[in-house]
Amino acid sequence: MSARQPLPHWVTAFLMPALNVALAFVIGGLVVLAIGENPLEAVSVLIYGAFGYGEGWGYTLHFATNFMFTGLAVALVFHMGMFNIGVEGQAYVAGLAIMVALAFDQTHWTVVFVTSIITAGVLGAMWALIPAYLQAKRGSHIVITTIMFNFIASSLMSYMLGQVITRPGANAETETIDPVGRLPLLRDIPGLEFFGFSPVNVSIFLAIAAGFFVYWLLWHTKFGYKIRALGHNPNAVRYAGVSAVTVIIITMMISGALAGLVAVNEAVGVQKRLVVGYVNGAGFVGIAVAFMGRSHPIGVALSALLFGALYQGGQELAFEMPSVSRDMVVVIQALVILFTGAMSELFRPALERVFSARSPGAETAKAASESGSG
């Protein structure tokens, strides 16, 4: 951020991100071009696949739901000035909530929904507890501990799925939830048939609620005030008489709980059973989602939507253009993350020249951006 003429809000909020996405597609287009496909067609296929029709929308929203949970989990802890790389593991362990869902699947989906929300949340929180405690009490760097706990989670779940809760005759997966107890898909809701066969289900409302909750927590509660204060200035927190230990532990547990909710959408809601590695990287994508969303719930929601679109659109692309492999789709996704996330300021100097050509500030801005590169 350089000493700058303030750009019009719509420029920073919409034009710049749009330009970045465009650039990402241009470069991604070159990859497509390299394999002799038409980049423009590829982009239009990708966009159509993500937003062009009901089922596409449904899939986009379904993926966005997972990323919303993981993104919020990362963002919340980041406001406390820490980095929770353990979301993947927290979500994975929370998958065990499936057992509760299976226990209640003869009752009614609402029962399954509520109970699995609770258990998934609790399990995720528990998996975050030890790293949090060690950080707070022993100063053990939370990045190490959460990385380690991802691996430990993988071992634990391998054991559970391989030996304990596995369905004999199947392969390291649990029983499947009985139709009676399955979460309704959006298309089952009158008026929303539009979503076709897509797996997007009632969990999406949970994700939206989670967004509001995090916003409320951070900016409208005394505890959120403490979280942010700790994030900005730990010394001031001690001066204020706020217990950093308590704040760290509780915040991490809330984060773990948010991560755990992935289980409600993905395992309980969509796959209706637990399989090995069901989180499938959503936890790591959540890191990018959180930072691209500037750790603000609205931003997180938007970038979750972007990533959902990339996943669904990418699948459409792989389907419509057989020569575009899913690895190429990964490349395009990476480019989008790079340009919209890490190089979001790429066009600022140019835009500043355009939008404040006549004002003296422009020069300062230029000087500043130069001073950055030395």
Binding site: H62, G162, A170, N171, A172, V276, Q315, P322
Partner: protein
């Protein structure tokens, strides 16, 4: 109707049965000159979508390798009663679905026997990706075969990792192989997809023997590959394609074991010198006994446990 093949999340080139399925499709393509369509899914939740797309575009049969397809296929098969589907490694009870199962334990039994016969140290090894019933079934059959030859042979049994990433962790696989060799193993059976090559490489580097899996990997390290436990997923796929083409489609469960030559120990020019005649005769003898039901090879998956270890 153009046949279609949808690969599992592990990906088309998993050095394992997805890749073999691909091979099968190619076989069909060569034999008949017909095209087929294919797709790699990226996310588990995309299975139904993929199935539906091919079905709704009139593809038939739609073949899916891997048990993970059972659930979604069960749903989609009912939506498209006129489309034929085939699933490998799992059973889907639908009138328009062909379910192909393999008796990996039987093939593994044979290679286990060979390993025991080849071993001079009385110690052999099994390297696999992670604790996973299918992979345990390989291992369990392997041990049974080895014990059939030498009741007190020691079988080292190692896992590379704890999830699907293990199928790619070729370096750890190599270390696992080395540690087994260091502990006296002189034959190593590697059932770990792409990572398996790491263990086979270790065996080759040490001048010991490796056993490949799924496809015939004998060519990898000629002279150091004792054999491969082939699992003819490719055959299953191309059969499904051709049956449809010739209007000979049959739904229902197909179980391919030694009898059906769905599994077996690969013998070719690469390992000819390593297999002595008496080894050969012994193996054939065992195979006949299994086919005749005189030897009952336990399937780990039936009860998630292995009687021997």
């Amino acid at each position: 109707a153009e046949p279609a093949l949808i690969y599992d999340a592990a990906g088309k080139f998993d050095k394992s049965f997805n890749e073999m399925a691909f091979g099968g499709a190619e076989m069909y393509k060569e034999a008949t000159g017909n095209e087929y369509s294919e797709l790699e899914i990226q996310e588990d939740s995309q299975r139904e979508q993929a199935l539906r797309r091919f079905a709704s575009r009139g593809a038939s049969p739609v073949v899916v390798p891997g048990f993970t397809w059972a659930e979604p296929l069960n749903v989609v098969a009912q939506e498209f009663p006129d489309t034929h589907f085939a699933i490998i490694d799992a059973v889907v009870e639908q009138p328009n679905v062909r379910s192909v199962l393999f008796k990996e334990q039987e093939g593994s039994f044979l290679v286990g026997a060979l390993a025991a016969m080849k071993s001079e140290t009385g110690t052999i090894g099994y390297v696999t990706a992670f604790d996973f019933p299918l992979l345990q079934a390989f291992g369990c059959g392997y041990i049974q075969g080895a014990r059939a030859i030498n009741p007190d042979i020691e079988v080292l049994y190692n896992f590379i990792g704890t999830d699907f990433a293990a199928f790619n962790d070729v370096n750890t696989a190599g270390e696992v192989g080395i540690s087994q060799l260091e502990r006296g193993a002189d034959v190593i059976y590697a059932a770990a997809g792409a990572a398996g090559e790491g263990a086979l490489q270790a065996a080759a580097d040490a001048g010991k023997y490796g056993i490949g899996v799924d496809s015939n990997q004998n060519y990898l390290f000629p002279g150091n590959m004792l054999t491969s436990m082939v699992k003819r997923v490719d055959v299953a796929v191309s059969d499904a394609f051709t049956d449809e083409m010739n209007g000979e489609w049959t739904s229902g469960v197909e179980v391919l074991g030694l009898a059906e030559e769905g599994v077996g120990a690969a013998m070719d020019e690469y390992n000819a010198d390593l297999i002595t005649d008496e080894m050969m005769t012994k193996v054939n003898e065992l195979r006949d006994q299994i086919i005749a039901g005189e030897i009952e090879v336990h399937d780990y998956r039936s009860d998630n446990s292995c009687p021997v270890s």
